[in-house]
Each structure stands twice: as C-alpha cells, then as structure tokens.
C-alpha cells in the first residue's frame, strides 16, 4: 500500500486527519491494475483483495487516530476547553476515561455506543472498552483489534478501539478512539459470501477462467480451465497452445467472432466449438470472453473470459434435432429415398468427417452406402463399407446388444474403425447402421449417439411398419372399391346392351314382313353385339395386356387401316387426319395390341372433343430419343424408336387429373359412360411391348398422347396378317371352297354354316378335333381349308392344326379365336395357323379370312378346289 493512496483513502475517511498528513511522502510504487470484470469473474488469487482493502481502511483508521493524538496534544497545551472542542469535533468516537471512570464522550462515540445525549456516562460505556490490558505504546499504531461490544439495548456493535495514555484536566487519563466497523465487516462478510458463492458456482458448472495478454500471449487460467480443456493434463501456457486444442474446423469461426468483438462490433463474444483433448477424445466447449483492457489507442491488450464444457448439452441437442429430423425423413421419404435421406442425416449427425455411412438389412446385405469427403476435402480412397468386406464384421454388431466399435486389424491397409449399431423394432432386427472412415476414430460418445439414433429410430420404424400395413390394407380396399365401380359400370353397360338386343330382336320378329324395318332392327341388334364385344375386349385386355414376344411389325399399314376405320365412325364435327411416314421401320408388337392402344388413344381424343368438335391427328415417325428428354427413363436416351402420336384440339387435361391418368379405373366420365380403362389399358399394353407412353398438354392447347416403341431391325418380311383386314375392292359373286368347320358350340356351327354358305363356300362341320381328323383322314381331298375353334373337348385348335399339318401339309387351318387368345397367327400357333379370326365374328371377317387363306397360301397358289377365287361380297351379314 502506497502512502499516496493511503492518504487519499484517509482523506475520504477522515478529512481532518488528511489535513494533518498533508505534505507526507509522495507515491513511490505503481499500483497493480484491478481487473474491470472482477466483480463477475474474480479469479481465486484475486479474491483476497477485499480483505486487503479492509485492512487498508483499518490501518488508516489507526494512522488517523494516531495523528489525531498529536493534534490533541497540541490542543491540550492550548487549553482544556479547546481540547474538548477538538475531541467533540473528531469524526470518530473518543472516550476519555481514567481508571474505569468515563470522563468525557464525544458525540460520535455516543452514536456508536447508542448513548443518548446528556445521559450519565458511567454505566453506559461498555466496560470492555475501558479495560484495555495494555495501551499501545505512544507513537505506535495500536493493534487495532476488533472489539465486540454488547450494548445496553441488547444489540452489539463491532468496533476498532485504540487506547492511548494521555491527559485530561491536567491529570493522566486514557483516550480510547473507537470506530464502528459494522459496515465494513458486513461488506467483508458479503464479499466473502459472494466469493464463496462464485467459487461454488464456478465449481458447479466447472467453468474455467482465463486471461490472456495479447502482447505476450501469456495465458493465466484457473484450475477449472484445466478441468475443462485438458483434464488430467497440463493446461496450455500461451494462447497458441490453447488454440491448438480447438478443432480445425471450428478455428476460423472462433477467430471471426473474436475479431468482430475486438473491432467493437459486439460487447462480448461467445463461441461453441469442439476441442481435441490429449487423450484424443473430442469435447464441445463454450468460450465466453471480452476485451479486459485496451491501451491508450483503444487497442485490445488483454482478453479475459470463461470456458465451459458443453459436450453433454451438445449431445442432447444433437439428439433432439436428430429426433425431429428423423421424424421428418420418415414422414416424407419412402423406399430408397428413405434410406438415402437417412444416410445423409446420419452423416451430419455424427459430425462428419465420416467417409461413409451404411445401412444394412438383417441379412447383412448393404442397402445403402454413402461416401463422403474427409475433413480435408480429400476424396476417400475406398468405401469402407464395400459390400464384400463389411458384412462379416457387421455380423458381430448384429449379434451384440449395444453399439460396437470395430477395429479392423490385419487389413492390408489400415482402416479407420467402424462404428455399428443394431437397428430394430422391438424384437425384430431390421438391420444396422454403420459409419466409418473418420480419421479421428470413434469414441464412446459417438457410440452413444449412434445408439441413441437407433433407439430413436425404433418407434419411428415401428410406426412406419404399422403405417405400411395400414397402407396395404387401404390400397386393397381401394382396389376392391375400384373393382366395384368397374363391375358397376360394366353391369350397367352390359344390361343396356342386352336390353337393345332383346328389344330390337323382338321388334325384328314383328317386322318380318317389312324388309326395311327388319334390316334396321337387326342393325341395332348387331350394333349392340359389337358394343358387347368391345366391352369384353376392354376388360380382357386390361387383365392380360400382351404377349411378351412378337415378330417385327411394320406399323404403318396397320395405322393407316385403323385411321380409315375410325374415320368412318366419327361425327362430322371431328376430323381425323393421319401423318404417317412411309418408312418407320419395324416394332416388336402383336398387331392387335398396338391397334388397341392406338384405338384407345384416339377414342379418348374423340371423347375429349365430343362437345366442341375439332381435329385429331394420328402420326407415326421414326425418332431417336434425345439424351436430355426427361419424359423418358434414363436408359431410353439415344434409343431409336417409332413414335405414334394422337393429337387433339380438345380442351386438354385438367391439372388435377394428370397424375391419375393411368390409374386403372380413373375416368372423368359418369358411371356407365365408360369404365375408365382407356389410358391404363394403353399403359398396360405399351408397357407389355416394352414401350413408353407420354401424355402432354401443349401450350397451344389440346392433348398430345404418344406411344414410343423400340425400333427393331427389319428381318425379312412382315407377317402378312400384320395388316388389318382390308376389304377387297368391289366384289361380286360367290366364293368357292370346301370348308371343314370345327367347333363344339352348335350355335356357332349353325351360324358358320349360314354365313359361309351364303358366301358361296361348301361347309361341313365337326363338333371336335378328333372327328375332324377322322374326316380328313377318310376323305383327304374333300376339304380345301379347316376352320377351327381353339378350346374344345378332345383336341385344342392348335393340336388339331398340328395333326392336320401332319396329315395334309398343304391344307390351311384358320383359328377362330376367343378374345383371350393371341390373334397373331404366327404367335398363336407358331405358324400353324394361316389366319386368325376373332370372336365374335361376323360373316364378313370370317369369309375374308377364309378367302385370303385360300388365295394367298404359303405356296402362293391360286384358287382352291377348281373354283377361282371370286370376289367377296361386301355384306354377307345383312
């Protein structure tokens, strides 16, 4: 304590005494700085400062008293009255006493001792004060010991008392100077308590205190700093040593916030960062700090603050965040997306650098592997979770209850340890999660985090599994409902069809005498029958899309014929135009399948324009899928295809319907207006052909539907039957030929006899294949052609055809096929059938097929049985 400072303090305490010491020695040593942040961040070795200050005050009291004694001495010499006045005016208590008798008490002492003015003095002054054992020797500061005085009112007061020998009324007396120390003591106690509390608090949170001299880099730290930063080791001595502990990835961030703070951008700074401890473990710390002093130019000189270990909190935060994000991932992602989202999440959560994250199913099969870069940005050399290497190691994880850190020893190249944890739902083990490749390896805390992830995943997985089960039930229910709708639509349509047949055939009977009316009635019956056939066809083709393999087909003639037929049935308001490139190449498709797909697209276009009218353009062209066309799966890029498009000028497709276009039973029409099989049938048919369908609504309006089928190298000639049945140009007269018609259904046999006889053929029937074979064997030259049903008792149509081929190779066989049989002759029977006619057939198609088979046989021969191939009558049905 310097004398200058002491005198300044003294002046504050004792103005009079200060005047007495004026002119004393000057200050001789500089005072140490007092840290500004001391009240909140007092370091242990500074904590005695309050005590020192108190001591200073006491010493000053004594010094002041002693100096006052000199003044008194001088006053006494000047006269008793003046002495009294001086004593009275003293700023502290003075009790004058002699041999235990109180002679005089000044006002200050009265206040301290709670003595009312004018009260008798004797008994009121506590005796302890009047019996000092040994007064301080003159000229020396007394001990200044604290005396606790019990006062008359029951209270107590702590005083410093100094007694000196002096004179009063020219006789020896003792002067006891007293000063009430209650306030100071209270302050001291409070300070001590506060210090204790701070120490306890710091201890409790284990905050470390530090101060760094920015000029020298010297670091001063509290013990707790070491506990946080270098447990069990030696704390760093300088700033560089400290910063070396900070995780490289976090250093720049820390430096940035400190720089901001030093430029006075922020009043203080704080930074959460990872540190690496000597034992290799990683911990999270929170650093608080601020500039403690600046130099005269405002430059920071010293930085001080605290560090706190927040590892536990960070882990908890990570886990909370992870829980939320996991929930989000599970709620929004499905299938492969789910796995990859989860993988990304795990990588982040485990605080990369991990070079990989893997998820395995319960069999140890790798389901997901994510490679990531290392901390330095270097690409990993390999995937630790290479499918072949890992399962063996991970099997151990599956068998273990908790997380497992696997260290591969004996590997050719040393690999970082792998951390794996079992992923399950209840007793059910679904797989495991593994991370690997982190340079620093994995610690117990990482294992805990990963185990936490797995634990958090469990209920999510559980609910996911339940939800999937529910989804499956729901999907099934929806399917059943859709089937109900479909059945309802079909029933409705079918009953109408039957109604028309029933009603108009009854009218036909009435109209037997009126050929014109009769024809009209029968037309209606026939139309209703066609409707019924189409309805059945739609249903069947939905359930049985197509044959897997079909011979190459030139699609242009088929499309041409189709457009021609469709055009005839359109109302005047709808124009149908075709733009077909002559050489489109070949596609591998059964003709009736492609035909059905195109019919459906065109029908949709017609329906779209029923109200408004417009133009439908059917086009076909060879094309190559560009590499950047996102309407196609990636493996379609650069593929050579044939594009079939149907464009209409209708109203387009409302946005809300686009996603459901290919749903099996989706329809915008009323029940009974159509069963909604159109586009889904197209999709099914085209998929069956290995093709692709697109539906677009161009900005210009309307709808553009397109079918893309892979183009195949033309091999030889297309099957002649690729072409839809075309009507021979104006035909007259009767056809010639001897037909053996085989069918187990007597109605069909009767019908065939009528139809074929009318056309001019000679018809003989057989109820099954065996009878037919016998006839051919018995009378090999009596038949020019065999027409057979496919499904019959005894032999099938195909078996019959094979037998016929053995008996009489030149005898052509035509198949009358049900709708559920492939109609392409080469497909149906491996070239055993010359032609295929689809049931229900009408005279025209059957006669045409027979005629074609007889005239364009494999041998290219002309007419059969001595009869020239005549012309086919256009309407054998009527």
């Amino acid at each position: 304590m310097s004398r200058r400072r002491a005198s300044r303090l003294l002046a504050a305490l004792f103005p009079l005494a200060a005047t007495l010491t004026a002119g004393g020695a000057r200050a001789d040593t500089p005072s140490p700085p007092l840290p500004e942040w001391l009240p909140t961040h007092g370091a242990p070795h500074w904590l005695d400062l309050g005590e020192i200050a108190l001591g200073i005050a006491l010493v000053l009291v004594v010094a002041g008293m002693l100096r006052y004694r000199g003044a008194l001495r001088r006053a006494r010499a000047a006269g008793e009255a003046r002495f009294r006045i001086l004593v009275q005016a003293a700023p502290y208590g003075v009790v004058v006493h002699r041999q235990g008798q109180v002679l005089f008490v000044n006002d200050s002492a009265r206040r301290t001792l709670r003595l009312p003015n004018g009260s008798p003095l004797t008994a009121r002054v506590p005796e302890a004060l009047l019996r000092p054992e040994s007064p301080a020797p003159p000229g020396l500061p007394a001990d200044g010991g604290l005396v606790h005085l019990a006062l008359a009112d029951g209270a107590g007061v702590d005083v410093r008392a100094i007694t000196i020998d002096s004179e009063f009324d020219r006789r020896p007396a003792r002067l006891t100077f007293i000063r009430d120390m209650s306030t100071e003591l209270a302050a001291q106690r409070a300070l001590a308590e506060s210090r204790d509390r701070l120490e306890m608090a710091l201890e409790a949170v284990r905050d470390g205190i530090w101060e760094v001299d920015l000029e020298t880099g010297r670091l001063t730290v509290s013990p707790a700093f070491g506990w946080v930063m270098t447990p069990g080791g030696v704390p760093p001595a300088d700033l560089a040593g400290w910063r070396a502990l900070v995780h490289p990835a976090d250093r720049a961030r820390l430096e940035a916030v400190i720089a901001d703070h030093q430029r006075n951008v922020t009043p203080a700074y704080e930074c959460e960062m990872r540190i690496r401890r000597a034992d290799g473990s990683e911990a999270w710390v929170l650093e608080h700090g601020r500039v403690a002093t600046r130099d005269d130019l405002g430059r920071p000189r010293r930085l001080a603050g605290t560090v706190r270990d927040i590892t536990a909190r960070k882990r908890a935060e990570q886990r909370l965040e992870m829980r939320g994000r996991l929930a989000a991932v599970f709620l929004t992602a499905r299938g492969d997306d789910l796995r990859s989202s989860l993988g990304t999440l795990l990588q982040e959560i485990l605080e990369a650098p991990c070079s990989c994250v893997g998820m395995f199913d319960a069999t140890g099969r790798l389901r997901l592997a994510c490679n990531d870069f290392t901390a330095d940005g270097a690409a990993p050399e390999h995937s630790l979770l290479s499918p072949d290497a890992v399962p063996e190691a991970l099997r151990r994880v599956l068998e273990s209850a908790g997380p497992l850190i696997l260290t591969e020893t004996g590997a050719e190249t040393p690999r970082a340890p792998l951390l794996g944890v079992r992923l399950g739902s209840g007793e059910r083990v679904l797989g495991l999660v593994a991370v690997g490749g982190r340079a620093a390896g994995y610690q117990h805390a990482d294992a805990e985090t990963l185990a936490g992830i797995a634990a958090d995943l469990e209920p999510l997985i559980q609910s996911l599994l339940e939800a999937e089960a529910k989804d499956a039930l729901l999907a099934q229910a929806q399917k059943m409902e859709a089937l109900g709708v479909l059945a309802g639509g079909i029933a409705h349509d079918f009953n109408n069809i039957l109604q028309a047949i029933l009603g108009f055939s009854a009218l036909a009977r009435q109209d037997a005498g009126d050929p014109e009316r009769l024809t009209a009635d029968l037309d209606r019956v026939q139309r209703a029958t066609v409707r019924g056939r189409d309805l059945v066809q739609r249903i069947l083709q939905f359930s049985r899309p197509s044959e897997p393999e079909a011979p190459p087909l030139d699609p242009v003639p088929l499309t041409e014929g189709l457009v021609r037929e469709l055009r005839a049935g359109l109302s005047g308001r709808i124009r149908l135009v075709s733009r077909l490139e002559a050489d489109c190449g070949r596609v591998r498709a059964a003709p009736q399948v492609l035909r059905q797909a195109l019919v459906n697209l065109t029908t949709n276009a017609v329906q779209a324009m029923e109200a408004t009218g417009g133009t439908i353009t059917v086009a076909a062209r060879p094309w190559t899928v560009p590499t950047d066309d996102h309407r196609f799966p990636p493996d379609w890029c650069g593929r050579e295809v044939v594009e079939f498009s149907v464009a209409d000028t209708g109203p387009g497709i409302p946005e809300e319907h686009r996603a459901r276009l290919f749903d099996p039973f989706f329809t915008t029409r009323e029940v009974g207006q159509g069963s909604g099989l159109g586009l889904s049938v197209v999709h099914g048919l085209v998929s069956g052909l290995g093709g692709h369908v697109t539906i677009e609504c161009p900005a210009a309006g309307g709808t553009l539907a397109a079918i893309y089928l892979p183009r195949v190298r033309a091999s030889g000639h297309a099957a002649t039957s690729d072409q839809p049945p075309a009507f021979p140009a104006a035909t007259e007269g009767a056809l010639r030929g001897r037909i053996l018609f085989v069918d187990d259904d007597p109605e069909i046999r009767d019908l065939a006899v009528v139809l074929l006889s009318r056309a001019g053929f000679d018809v003989e029937t057989a109820p099954d294949g065996l009878v037919a074979c016998k006839r051919i064997t018995d009378r090999p030259d009596d038949f020019d052609i065999v027409v057979t049903d496919q499904y019959m008792p005894g032999l099938t149509g195909r078996e019959l055809a094979l037998r016929v081929a053995a008996l009489r190779p030149a005898l052509p066989v035509i198949l009358v096929s049900g709708l559920d049989e492939p109609a392409d002759p080469s497909v149906a029977g491996g070239l055993v059938f010359r032609e295929v006619v689809t049931k229900p057939f009408f005279g025209q198609s059957l006669c045409l097929a027979v005629h074609r088979a007889l005239t364009t046989g494999p041998g290219g021969s002309g007419g059969p049985g001595g009869g020239q191939a005549g012309r086919v009558p256009l309407d054998t049905d009527g």
Partner: protein, 121 residues
C-alpha cells in the same frame, strides 16, 4: 293420344323405346338425361314419363323428385340396369319417391308395353 316422355342416356334404349311406343300409337318425346327431361316436361305436359336412373347431368332419382313435385297424377316408370349397386336398389328408391312402376333391364318389349298400358288406360 297419350303423350309419353322417355328420359334415357343410352341412345339404343332410347331408340328402342321410342320405336316401340310410337308403333303402339303413343306420342313420344325423348331426352338424353334428367336435366333435359325435366326441362322438356316443364315445356309441355306429358301423361307418362319413363326414366332411366343412372344418367349424366341429372340422374333419374333427382328427375323423379322434380317431376313428381306438384304433379301427383303423373304416371312414372323407372327403368335401370344397375350401376354401383344392384338395379333393385335404385328402383326401390325410385318407387319410394313416386315411381308407379319399375322395370329392371333387360326387360321385354311386352313388359314395358304392359306397364304403360296399365298406367295410362
């Protein structure tokens, strides 16, 4: 001559009924859905209405409710081939709402003519 309105969205059935009833001497008008049917009915009176049930725009049930309103004497025949439900379900509803006769499709020409005659004579 009694006037009959046929409300039916299926052209074949419409034509069949029209042809059938015209031959019997009735004056027949047709409508392709319930909405058109009700409009036609309001434009001019009919003695009997034959209506289908499942139709676009306005179905037969709604049409019957509209037609029956204020016309307790009107004769109504409902016909149906069903849809999402059995024809009887629809026809039962139609009966409750005031259809005098119901016929399930497909019905014979004789059946519908008998019903018409019975109601109109």
């Amino acid at each position: 001559m009694p006037r009959i309105l046929i409300i039916e969205d299926d052209e074949e059935i419409r034509d069949l009924l029209e042809s059938l009833l015209t031959r019997e001497g009735y004056t027949v008008a047709t409508a392709a859905n319930g909405k058109q049917g009700v409009a036609a009915f309001l434009a001019q009176p009919f003695d009997l209405v034959i209506t289908d049930i499942i139709m676009p725009e306005k179905d037969g049930i709604e049409a019957i409710m509209d037609l029956r309103r204020g016309r307790p004497d009107l004769k109504l025949i409902a016909i149906s081939g069903g849809g999402r439900a059995e024809p009887e379900n629809y026809l039962h509803s139609a009966q409750l709402l005031g259809a005098n006769r119901t016929l399930r499709k497909p019905f014979t020409n004789e059946a519908i003519l008998a019903a018409v005659k019975e109601l109109i004579s």
